[in-house]
């Protein structure tokens, strides 16, 4: 991954957005702060209704924050109308102008910026090449497919070379194959243009594969910001752990902490080592998360951290899921990658131990 400079393109500071008044007031955003670095592919990830679109609309200027400020390279843009902000949007519905051709759509922003005709023409040609739509320049937008419309929407938003590009679930209307292609295409475009992307999705897999950094949102709050690996390996709280990937949750008591790690005594009596979220030093009872592929099966009673019975073995081609019931009644899943010709050593009904490696467990900030 290329080094990203550490300048902030967007800084959201204590932004709140309340819709309605009195009893009907809904806080779509409950005081959000986040910094988005120059030239990064930043993703807002969260379930439907968590406030992703609202945050994007505030940055674009379609709505104004109830409190807080939004800085673009240090300047507060909150008072500026959308047509003065050097920020462009790719809308979920594409919102292509139906009475204009593909080329006219792409040139619209530059035309509104009063660029000379020759410059507009050259830039439109360049954009058409960038999104591989040269052949369809003079088509009406109703005469092209959904995937092509998506690319026109991208080209139209990129043509004026905005400081930040906002993308609101741009791939959700595409079918699976096209979505995969467009994910790669988007990454390529971001690399080639060097524009800061703020990408919105509710699809965790999409977020993990595409982003430099992810902000996980829930109910109008940002719960965790970090690189995909951080978010996946070190989820800060239960919602993040649950929303992204599969998780095993274990209860235990902290018996000691040292330098970002804790010793946790599980309810089975075994002690394991677990990482702590930054700036969090718990005592007493905590929840620990272990990803299914970070745990290994071992022979029963062989000194493994946990003991249980295999209830179900699910073969998934690339890997196998072992559904266990631990001796204290807690369900636990272990995922093992399949090797060619490898035998199923743990059949349903057999006893097994679960080994939790030194870096596998993470304490949650509950």
């Amino acid at each position: 991954m290329p080094e990203k400079p550490d300048r902030n393109a967007i800084e959201v500071r204590g932004v709140r957005k309340v819709f309605g008044t009195g009893e009907n007031a809904v806080a779509a955003l409950a005081t959000v702060s986040v910094s988005i670095r120059e030239n990064e592919f930043f993703t807002l990830l969260g379930p439907s209704g968590c406030g992703k679109t609202t945050l994007l609309r505030l940055i674009a200027g379609f709505d104004y924050p109830s409190a807080g400020e939004i800085l673009l390279y240090g300047d507060d843009i909150a008072p500026q109308p959308p047509f003065r902000r050097p920020v462009n949007t790719v809308f979920q519905s594409y919102a292509l102008f139906p009475h204009m051709t593909v080329a006219e759509n792409i040139g619209f922003g530059l035309e509104m910026l009063n660029k000379p005709k020759a410059e507009v023409k050259a830039r439109v040609a360049e954009m058409l090449r960038l999104v591989r739509m040269e052949q369809l320049a003079n088509r009406r937008t109703s005469q092209i497919s959904g995937g092509q419309q998506q690319r026109v929407a991208l080209a139209r938003a990129l043509a004026p070379q905005p400081k930040v590009l906002l993308l609101d679930e741009p791939l959700s209307a595409l079918d699976y194959k096209l979505r995969k292609d467009m994910q790669i295409e988007l990454k390529r475009l971001q690399g080639e243009t060097g524009i800061t992307f703020i990408f919105v999705t509710h699809d965790q897999e999409e977020a993990l594969t595409m982003s430099d950094r992810i902000a996980v949102m829930s109910a109008g709050r940002i719960l965790q910001v970090g690189a995909p690996r951080d978010i996946y390996d070190r989820p800060a709280d239960r919602f993040v752990a649950d929303f992204i990937g599969e998780s095993n949750f274990l209860k235990g008591d902290v018996t000691g902490t040292d330098g970002g790690r804790a010793t946790v005594k599980l309810s089975s009596g075994t002690e394991i080592r677990a990482s702590l979220p930054e700036g969090f030093s718990p005592s007493g009872s905590v929840t620990v998360v272990v990803r299914p592929e970070h745990a290994q099966l071992a022979a029963a009673d062989g000194g493994a951290a946990l003991q249980g019975t295999v209830e179900n073995v699910v073969y998934l081609g690339t890997d196998t899921h072992f559904h266990l019931r631990l001796d204290d009644g807690v369900p636990f899943i272990v995922r093992r990658q399949n090797a060619r010709g490898g035998a199923d050593s743990f059949a349903a009904g057999s006893r097994a131990g679960v080994v939790i490696g030194g870096d596998a467990a993470q304490v949650l900030r509950d």
Binding site: G61, F62, F83, S93, L96, P98, F108, G109, M112, A157
Partner: protein, 266 residues
């Protein structure tokens, strides 16, 4: 055997429908046929002829009234359509607020207040102004027609605006278009079929008006409908039938155009 159940089949519906169509179209059919009557009274049939069309076309009173009708209808329709477009934008491009319903009602007032009431009110109001200013031109008729044409122009324009995707205007603003340029380059081109439809509807409604025109007009300001009304008082000749028939054809032509324009691009 019983027929399969269908709410489309109710006893007596076909007969009632047939009767309604009969009552609606038979008189018009008779009127059109008698426009081609060679006899000089509608009481007898004297064979086919176009002579009443010729006589109407040469009647200077008919020509004057027709020209006046078109002047009033064209001016009133254009002004009403501009006002209706602005009203439609103001009432659709805003989140609902208390008082919006009242505004709808105010705009559509001419559809609800009995025409005769408006006519009497305008008669009294304008006669004062006439005395005051000494002006007695077509302005009064144009003003009155504009007022009652507005809701007819407003309705198709509003319908079109409500169906328009608001994100298009947002996308224009996002791409650096000021509100005026967003309107010129995005809203107006997409709204155009609705505006044309409103314009034509307003034109036809103005052309057809009798009650308000009859009350508001000064001497020598007959429009085609009020001229026809005046003629009928003196006994019907097939010339009236001929004028009506020409009028009918014109209205059908405009309504047909209206249909095609409003259907376009949907």
């Amino acid at each position: 055997m019983a027929k399969p159940f269908s709410i489309r089949h109710q006893p007596g519906f076909t007969a009632i429908a047939a009767l309604c169509f009969f009552a609606l179209y038979l008189p018009i059919l008779v009127l059109v046929v008698y426009a081609f009557n060679a006899a000089s009274s509608t009481a007898e049939w004297g064979g086919l002829s176009l002579k009443w069309f010729q006589s109407a076309a040469q009647n200077t009173q008919v020509i004057d009234a027709t020209v006046r009708s078109f002047q009033i209808a064209a001016t009133a329709a254009v002004i009403a359509t501009i006002a209706a477009t602005m009203a439609a934008l103001a009432t659709t491009r805003t989140p609902p607020y208390p008082g919006l319903t009242f505004k709808y009602a105010a705009i559509n007032q001419p559809l609800m207040v009995p025409e005769i009431v408006t006519a009497v009110a305008l008669l009294i109001f304008f006669s004062r102004i006439k005395i005051f200013t000494g002006y007695s031109g077509l302005g009064y008729l144009i003003a009155a027609h504009t007022a009652f044409c507005i809701p007819f122009a407003y309705l198709p324009i509003r319908a079109r605006l409500e169906n328009m995707d608001l994100t298009l205007e947002r996308a224009a603003a996002d791409l650096y278009a000021t509100p005026w340029r967003a309107f010129r380059r995005v809203t107006l081109p997409l709204l155009w079929p609705g505006i044309l439809a409103g314009l034509m509807l307003a034109f036809v409604i103005s052309l057809d008006d009798v009650v308000i025109t009859e009350f508001v007009k000064s001497g020598g300001q007959d429009t085609l409908p009020t001229y026809m009304l005046g003629q009928i008082r003196r006994g019907i000749t097939p010339e009236i039938n001929a004028i009506s028939t020409a009028f009918l054809l014109l209205s059908v032509a405009i309504v047909t155009l209206f249909f095609f324009v409003s259907r376009k691009r949907d």
